[in-house]
Symmetry: C2
Subunit: 362 residues, 2 copies
């Protein structure tokens, strides 16, 4: 904040409000006009603007004691925010906003109410803070990744030709919940022609011999609508794979392991993306992903994203997902594992080794 000469930041997104307040507020997910805001001054105590009916939750979940409550449909949350900023002597201050999140209409309203204030983009401040995970965050994400990984393994071990995509997905989510998961952030589980659409929901299509089956699954650990995320992908085939499928998957797994071996402080998207690009060049296999991995935490994609142009170096205590994927003959092959960057390399949070050969579903 000192670097940007900001007098206060205002968090408005579910993720950053949780990051600063410890409270996951459902209204932020399902009622977009029901604003919840954290005001964090450079000097002084933080405050919150919340709906009066949320006060009980905040008193229970959050260490922030200075709560300002509005009555929904009667008072404007932004007017209350302006009042709090004014009371804190910030009416002519430099206020950092989440301008990638806060809707245009709300910033306009705030600007009208505080004409002497200056508003600056503060999203990157939050991004930077959330990039490096604390020991508590790493512990939680370690447990979460293990739970998700095991759930996928069990669901695929139990999968059989003729079962539907939805049945396998249901086992996967059930086993995740049994291991402490709270909600589904996303769940692609698609077979055969369905797998071409990147985030198709699990359908009642039965698995048929020859189908490539791919899942890309993320669960929330915290509440059913938010919290720390997992993100893992696995690929299998129903029956015996063709020689081509075996070869494409082997190359993908090999690339995956090469990337994992290069993950360490200082490594960049430029370097890691290139490993994958090179490996599939001239093979006829289509590698068209815009990245090969990403940081994750309260959002599934956090900075840095491992794009072909990213020069942002990895640092210790980043939690990353590495996920090369390719298309071949109308099927998608995808493998994704989670890890934490250490001082000298990385520690895996999920286990790719059980997926070293293309798994066959009997």
């Amino acid at each position: 904040m000192a670097e940007l000469q900001i007098d206060a930041i205002v968090a408005s997104s579910l993720e950053n409000v949780f990051y600063l307040s410890d409270a996951l507020i459902l209204g932020q997910r399902v009622v977009p006009t029901r604003l919840a805001l954290v005001i964090w001054p450079a000097n002084g105590e933080p405050a919150m603007v919340i709906r009066n009916l949320e006060e009980m939750q905040l008193r229970a979940d959050s260490p922030i004691a200075d709560l300002h409550c509005y009555v929904e449909f009667q008072e404007s949350p932004i007017a209350l925010l302006a009042k709090v900023l004014q009371e804190k002597g910030l009416a002519a201050g430099r206020i950092g906003l989440e301008t990638r999140h806060l809707a245009a209409r709300y910033r306009d309203e705030l600007g009208t109410l505080l004409p002497r204030a200056t508003f600056v983009d503060a999203d990157e401040l939050f991004d930077r803070a959330r990039t490096i995970k604390s020991p508590e965050e790493i512990e939680l994400m370690t447990r979460a990744a293990k739970a998700t990984d095991e759930a996928i393994q069990i669901a695929f071990d139990g999968a059989r030709e003729g079962m539907t995509e939805a049945q396998i997905a249901s086992t996967m989510t059930g086993e995740t919940f049994r291991r402490g998961g709270d909600g589904i952030a996303f769940i692609a589980l698609a077979s055969g022609a369905n797998a071409k659409v990147i985030h198709r929901k699990p359908s009642n299509k039965p698995l048929a011999r020859g189908d490539v089956v791919r899942t890309d699954f993320g669960a929330y650990f915290g509440s059913y609508f938010g919290g720390y995320l997992t993100d893992l992908a696995r690929t299998a085939v129903v029956g015996m794979p063709t020689p081509r499928q075996t070869e494409v998957y082997r190359r993908l797994f090999d690339v995956h392991m090469q990337i994992l071996a290069q993950v360490r402080p200082g490594a960049t998207g430029v370097q890691l993306y290139e490993i994958c690009r090179k490996a599939f060049e001239g093979t006829g296999v289509l590698f068209r992903s815009p990245f090969v991995g990403h940081n994750l935490g309260l959002l599934v994609h956090e900075d840095p994203i491992l794009t072909p142009s990213s020069c942002e170096p990895l640092e210790p205590n980043m939690v990353m997902a590495i996920e090369p994927f390719v298309f071949d003959d109308g099927a998608m092959f995808h493998i994704e594992d989670m890890l934490v960057v250490t001082e000298t390399g990385c520690r895996l949070l999920s286990d790719p080794h059980r997926w070293s050969e293309l798994k066959c579903i009997p």
Copy 2:
């Protein structure tokens, strides 16, 4: 659009993009920077700006054929939007934006790229369109309400002292999915002291004799992360209710039936809210809800909301939830049903009659 002299509207929220394109796009829920936009000109064909990896889904799900794809992390979706508007001759047009949704930074970027364009708030245009449901929407929501209602009934019929909140919630969601539900929008299920916090997630607390147990449950029908919503609330008690609990619940149910009897075209929030306010005045029971009902559809709260100051009249083919709730002796009593407004009154989509007496969990 003619009324507001708008040359084109741009939808950016998951709900309105779905409303115009028929495609529920996961990225809009979990990767906020992964914009998907529908451009709908007053004259001419609609177009979309989407991430290239979403093209397959759009080709499968949407009748919109004019797709403009950006490569994530390499191209700005807003720059592509500006280009499409320019190509359509709208660079100096009046463009309606969802300013309650589109983040400030994106509108700034668009304003810089199209300095001759005028941007106007178009949220209310969408709100108005979505307020009245089509026969297809009503049919879907009728099935959805029935499924959710039955699922709650089964979960509460099977509830026993000593079971945990999470177990009952799990039955409720499982039975909803079995009946065609696709996801959980929200699920409060709280007992005893937990029930004071308004949207507490189901915990491992066992139901204890004397606990008031309240659920407020909404499922998605469409996909696991979005679509048409249900919203129902039920209250029960573990063991025998106290005379006071019996009386509070009876009054609440009576108020609920009185409101339902008054629902018809022309009825307003002013009138319906007053029924509830009056009934609890001077009883010592705390009625502090900011509304007694709301329209619903792709969001859980759509216009009109039945607040004490809302003069917006109900109209045929609105789908509404009526939900009086009160607090007494630290417990929350809540009943909520869904209905569709008809020419002369309303047709219930869920069944309050099985909840006319405070349900006892043995």
